[in-house]
Amino acid sequence: MAEIDEVNRKITLKLVYYGPAQSGKTTNLMRLHDLLAPDLKGEVMTLETQNDRTLFFDLLPLGFRTPSGWLVKLKLFTVPGQVAHDATRKAVLSRADGVVFVADSQRTQSVNNAEAFQNLEENVQRVGLDFASVPLVVQFNKRDLPEAQILSEEEVRARWAQAPWPLVFSSALIGEGVKETFARLLEQVYPVLDKFCALQESHGVDRQSFVAAVTGG
């Protein structure tokens, strides 16, 4: 849950990129760093990797100043996707204000996607969040791969037709759909945050300006 620091006049949010191993979570974060232009943008901090695989997490801090003079800080995390790192995944997911589930579009990864999604649901509950209400966007990544190798958009849409979450197709490698995914998450996070700390009323930030300020328009 977002943190309000009255002394330093700061609101801190935590957003988590979740998904199976090698689906492109870290790549998403790297691209966001390049694509976004908010007031404040930190560097991507990659804590520890092994052969390109995240062992702890990656962190990208973003922020902007509200008209009220407060700092809204967003910390974007990625989790390690490998099954073995479940305890770390769970710790990183703790206190999340929103989640992007990065699925791998490759046909061969369908089972991994399903298992990772189930793992997300379990861990959301284990860290005391409500799966039904936590802001969530599902991203199908690697759309640049040959058609034969990946699930078609129709197939994906059919499979996720009953799901309430926004579905975005992306290629993090090229940078397509990455910003859109993030914007869709911000749109969902805003109402919760507004309720929590009166963003609109006390800080003069509406939904549109919130998304614009974080993404840099």
Binding site: K10, T12, L47, F57, G63, A87, A91
Partner: protein, 406 residues
């Protein structure tokens, strides 16, 4: 395990990022780099490192971390470039410190998590262990009861088996006794007739009526009667002797339960068992005894009688209309060997392994408990011996009992 509930993703302030750093060394280095005194203060103005007193007209360089300014580096001299370079150095140090803190705290969080999970597992394990213990105790008790029930049932079955063989024995004996009893009875009633004639003759003799006496003597054919009377009585005595012998043999079976050991010649027991069975098979089978010299052994004769009778009954039951049962005994390698063979229907090879198993029977239900051979084996083994079988379908079966000598 009490660990501080630090969350790895919390916001750090300057004091926390500097905690645990070699501050004295840092102060030295900064003083050298800045060529003089300096101050490192938080955004709130709190001194972290360097000169306690504020400078009159200081130069500032912001110390930034992530998106925010956490503090300032101040120096009296006006070397802007040097100051910002030194501030950059401090920022790098803080960044490394933050990385370390986050990694350490995340690690702690996951370890705590794992530990909690382990404890949970441990508790669950202990609980299931306790459950299994109760269960196994219950099981043991149930097994004990089952064994008890089984033992009782087995004892009853053994008893039933014994009764069954005794029943068969009784039928044979009844048949044997019936025959002599039958003719003794008819002889006696003839004798009663003869005695009545003698009484009448005696009365005529007393009265002195010799004519009448002579007439009656001739009429009753007393010449034949005197001769026949003696024959009748002789026959009856022989019949009574036969009954007495059968009854004497029967006594051998009255001590089936006798648990006292006796020194006996097993040939006597074999003869006795053959006598018992003879009545039952005399119409349909020939009983051949080839008994060799045997040493006397200490045994439970009643029990061994049961074995022999059982094997003989088995043989008799397997016989065709005209068969032969052969009983042999001899000594072989310090063992008494007793063979009881028949030329009956034989036992299929598939059944041979199982015939000593409890309740295994090929006869129709009701004609035995299927314990006969099991009992035989048990008795022979209790005597330190063994029992074997050889059989060929259509040719016959031989049971061999080996008993140790002395």
């Amino acid at each position: 395990m009490e660990l501080e509930p630090h969350t790895f993703d919390r916001e750090f302030d300057l004091a926390e990022l500097l905690a645990g750093m070699p501050l004295a060394r840092m102060a030295q280095i900064l003083a050298t780099l800045l060529a003089g005194e300096f101050r490192l203060v938080t955004v709130g103005g709190q001194l972290m490192l360097g000169r306690a007193e504020p400078f009159a007209q200081p130069c500032h360089a912001a110390i930034r971390h992530e998106l925010e300014t956490l503090g300032h580096l101040e120096s009296a001299s006006d070397g802007e470039a040097r100051l910002s370079a030194a501030a950059g150095m401090v920022e790098l140090v803080l960044q490394l410190s933050a990385r370390y803190r986050m990694a350490a705290d995340l690690h702690t969080e996951t370890v705590q998590e794992d530990y909690a999970a382990l404890q949970h597992q441990h508790a669950a394990l202990k609980e299931s262990e306790a459950r299994y213990k109760t269960l196994s105790e219950e099981l043991e008790e149930r097994v004990r009861q089952q064994v008890e029930t089984l033992e009782t049932a087995q004892r009853q079955l053994y008893q039933a088996e014994k009764l069954a063989s005794i029943g068969q024995l009784a039928a044979g004996v009844a048949h044997e006794i019936n025959n002599p009893i039958g003719f003794i009875r008819s002889n006696l009633s003839t004798a009663q007739q003869y005695v009545r004639n003698l009484e009448r003759l005696a009365a005529l003799m007393k009265a002195g009526d010799m004519a009448q006496f002579q007439a009656l003597w001739n009429e009753a054919d007393m010449a034949f009667v005197t001769e026949d009377f003696a024959a009748l009585l002789g026959e009856s005595v022989a019949g009574a002797d036969r009954v007495a012998k059968i009854v004497a043999d029967l006594k051998g079976f009255s001590n089936v339960d006798q648990t006292e050991e006796e020194i006996v010649n097993l040939n006597d027991n074999l003869r006795f068992a053959c006598n018992v069975i003879a009545g039952q098979i005399k119409d349909k089978a020939e009983l051949v005894l080839e008994l060799g010299e045997l040493p006397r052994i200490l045994c439970l004769p009643g029990h061994l009688n049961q074995v022999f009778l059982n094997l003989l009954l088995n043989a008799a039951q397997s016989l065709p209309d005209q068969g032969r049962i052969k009983v042999c005994s001899d000594v072989l390698n310090h063992e008494i060997r007793i063979l009881i063979s028949d030329n009956g229907c034989g036992i299929p090879e598939g059944n041979l392994d199982r015939i000593f198993d409890p309740f295994f029977t090929t006869r129709e239900v009701g004609s035995g408990t299927g314990l006969g051979l099991t009992v035989c084996r048990d008795i022979v083994q209790a005597h330190g011996g063994r029992i074997g079988v050889e059989s060929k379908v259509g040719a016959g079966t031989t049971f061999t009992v080996y008993l140790p000598v002395g």
